[in-house]
């Protein structure tokens, strides 16, 4: 599984556990579930696409640089080490 797939799968699991949490991004807001659904959507508005790209860039950076984050993502995604 590619790292982005691991991240998205893990964050989907997190989002499903936290239905009430809201993300505020400028003038827009999303539930975690709505936001995570955008992460692998092919049909996004330009501003949402930019938001998703920035988020995934930060997530990949943390995945590669932060061993705790990487381990937690793999555990949540159900991926063996």
């Amino acid at each position: 599984m590619r790292e982005v797939e691991i991240i998205v799968k893990a964050l989907k699991a997190e989002a499903s556990q936290k239905p009430k949490e809201i993300i505020y991004a400028g003038r827009e807001s999303f539930t975690y579930k709505e936001f995570v659904a955008m992460l692998n959507s092919k049909k996004l508005q330009k501003n949402h696409k930019k938001l998703v790209e920035s988020f995934l860039q930060s997530a990949r950076k943390m995945f590669n640089e932060n061993p705790t984050y990487r381990l937690k993502m793999m555990q949540l995604a159900g991926v063996e080490k």
């Binding site: 997190e14 009430k20 993300i23 988020f55 943390m62």
Partner: protein, 224 residues
Amino acid sequence: MSVAVLVAPLFDEATRYSYDWSREAKALLEEKGYKVIDIGGRRVSKAEVEEALKRNSNVLYIHMNHGSESAHWGSENEAVINLENVQLLSERETYCMNCLSAKKLGVEAWKEKAEAYWGYVEVFTFTTEALDEFREFANSGLKFRLEGKSWKESLQLAKDLAKALAQKLVEAGKYIASVILQGDADALRCYTEDMPPTSDCAFRRLAISIFGPKIGWKLPSRGV
């Protein structure tokens, strides 16, 4: 007595949070002996911000609300600072907790000889799951500056703090929040005389490398 103009409008769900965070900023300023001209808790007009800045030279200007590449917003439809009145930031220190304004407005402010411009080049994003951590990060640069650190030191300390907060969120199982906080930190910029803006544009970067930032940023370029 030092004076700060604190602009923290309130007009939608997200600005309830930015207004709330601005109360901490106000308390920090007052603790350090600042007289705070507090304009917020409601929709704010361009005229009242312009008047406050024109009447008070050498003030620290703080904006905590929605922003865009070229504007600080006072309400859904009215910018309080934009490219038309950016010269009001000349010879001032500006501290923003808003989206995107370091991308163009901050560069223009720097070109107008602003002493400092603190802001973000991407959308400032936060989650309800970690409000204390996002508030702490959003106000941290102001706190460090008021403690006597230079803007350069404050920027580094704010980025270090974000890393520590993101780690704390990871350990608390708040993974989405940790990524968002780290993303905000990556988008944070501070422009001063010795920390000029950088550019994503290859032509602009070339111009800056050849002519230096002062001239390089003044050369006209498409889409920059």
